[in-house]
């Protein structure tokens, strides 16, 4: 199994990171180089940079659109999103040398529970009629990563994860101390590769739909 560990732990991280970066930049460039379309804003909208930032923060932090207009999925979606935010924050803290295991576990539990809850919501009539298999798959992927992080103890191994990540980033990759972490590393790789090409890129797309379309373009 040595070669498999080598593949997942040493080779794939670079492939995944490269694909993620290239895919992500490609998308961003593609959208930002779009010709200036006809004005198509919706009133009222925030005008100053400060107001816009405020609106964005409120939307990202509270999912206000869902809260106001689609209560049915507000809580499950909020739970899942907060779980994801927490896991991402945990990763950054780990890199900084602050492995707050509790944050990772809490995030993992929230994202896992939220994605499952969303999954069941999707089976209800109103959402089923517009759901394609890929939406279920996206939720499963979120579930897999968060549950995987809990089961493999990934969130509790902050120091090992840090060492491993630093190895990757400093171009002297070493396999993680505990081989079981490779599972989670593999899920994360899949996620990274998939991110720019799937619908989960919406966090970036949203910047353009709001700033370049819905909120008008500085006039």
């Amino acid at each position: 199994m040595g070669w498999l560990a080598y593949l997942v732990g040493i080779v794939l991280p670079y492939v995944a990171l490269a694909l993620f970066v290239v895919g992500f930049i490609y998308k961003i460039i593609c959208w930002s180089r779009a010709p200036r379309h006809l004005p198509w804003e919706l009133f009222p909208y925030p005008h100053t940079a400060g107001e816009r930032l405020g609106e964005m923060v409120i939307e990202v932090a509270s999912l206000r659109s869902l809260k106001l207009h689609n209560r049915n999925i507000w809580l499950p979606s909020l739970l899942m999103h907060f779980g994801i935010y927490a896991v991402v924050a945990w990763l950054f803290l780990v890199l900084l040398g602050l492995p707050v295991a509790l944050l990772g576990y809490l995030g993992g539990v929230a994202a896992a529970a939220g994605s499952l809850w969303m999954f069941t919501k999707r089976l209800g009539r109103d959402l089923r009629i517009l759901t394609t298999p890929v939406e279920y798959l996206n939720l499963l992927l979120v579930f897999l990563i968060s549950a995987g992080g809990i089961i493999t103890g990934f969130f509790g191994e902050g120091l090992a994860v840090r060492e491993y990540m630093l190895g990757i980033l400093s171009l002297s990759p070493r396999l993680p101390a505990r081989p079981s972490l490779l599972w989670e590393i593999f899920f994360l790789e899949v996620f990274l590769v998939y991110l720019p090409f799937g619908r989960m890129i919406h966090f970036a797309a949203k910047y353009f739909t709001y700033h370049r379309v819905k909120w008008g373009e500085s006039h």
Partner: protein, 458 residues
Amino acid sequence: MRRVLDEYRAISDEVLKPHEKRVPRFLEAMKKSLDSRANWTFWLPYVLSLDTCMKCGTCAEVCPVYLSSGRREIYHPAVRADALRKIYRRYFTLAGRLFPWLVGGEELTEEKLDALVEGSYRCTVCRRCAYVCPVAIDNGLLIREARKILDAIDIAPDELREKGTRKQLEMGNATGTPTPAFMDIVEFLAEEIQDTRGYKIEIPVDKRGAEYLVMHNAGDYLAFAETVMGAAEIFHAAGVDWTLNSPATGINDVVNYGVFFSDVEFEKVLRAQVKTCIDLKIRTLVVGECGHAFEAFKYLMMRLIPEEERPFEVKSILELIDQWIREGRIKVDPRKNPEPVTYHDACKLGRLGGLYEEPRRILKACCMDFREMQPNREMSYCCGGGSGFAIMTKGDFLKFRMETYGKIKARQVEETGAGIVALACSNCKGQFREIINYYKLPVRFAGISELVANALVL
């Protein structure tokens, strides 16, 4: 009537030509629509809306058609727009070409094309859904893009194209009113004013170099003459240098149905209108009570026609009246309109145009009892006359308008207890005329100009 989507037909088989092979042409036109240069006018919002819908269903919770139909699947905003997304996935994305079943790509057939055509005319592009979508995805815009692709393969409602933009370009107005008849109408309206108000006013026509050219929706002269008369009285009272124009000067109809279904037609009409304004050497074009014309001149024109090629200002008649009342240029007495009045925010003036306060200030100044309709402003429900629907009645289409949008609107009006619904858009007037009739509401509708004129103190 052959059934293709539901029990209505917006587009007849004559236009639809179901026996011809249209799919390859459709795909060709769609390919072009995805080219950022060929379709620069809407490319970015178009591809963002094709690609990043999260299928959360929030749009459906605010869509008047979906809600009022008892949540029919075919009227779900995202499902309706998916008709286009499925084609996009299947033919124009890698994932969809490889795994269509996974990402919801679907082969386009002639039958599905028929359904797509009808589906594209079950949404007024009111954009209430886009306003609430967490990702700001615009299913209304996708409907408009679908209409554009269909127009490129010659599938468009006669009301909007043959008898709409084409007729307007040929005759100067979409009503087909020639100059002598137009002059007669204006003369008749001046007499009407004299009869009802007891004083004579001059209504200038085709005056060159005027400060204000007031261009109405030409349909108003025939169907909503009170609005035209009201505007004349207001401009007279304001004592400004103004004029109407006849078809002899070019285009004398502010509508532009291209807004609803075709950028090509849109641009042709717009350029003809701009040319008319330049020829008349006017300083300000005043857009009469017409929602989509305001959108066209105030926003859509901005990047289509460079500033130096349009040496005149554009104002909505609402902006002017509001300004004049505040400046004291015209005086109004609210006691002359004692009945309770409510206001319907036209989508194109409100959500798309940003004119929320102007009509309210005007109405509060001119009426004793102004009442808000709930919900209002950015969450106003489309009346159902938008995107061309107001002039589409064939194939039981009127019933569709009444049983969906109309149903919600009728209830809203009733809840206010108002006796008058004030409207600032010709298409809304066309739709409300039918709603009041269909639901036997004890109300009448009135143009803003009509109410202002009625309150004028000379």
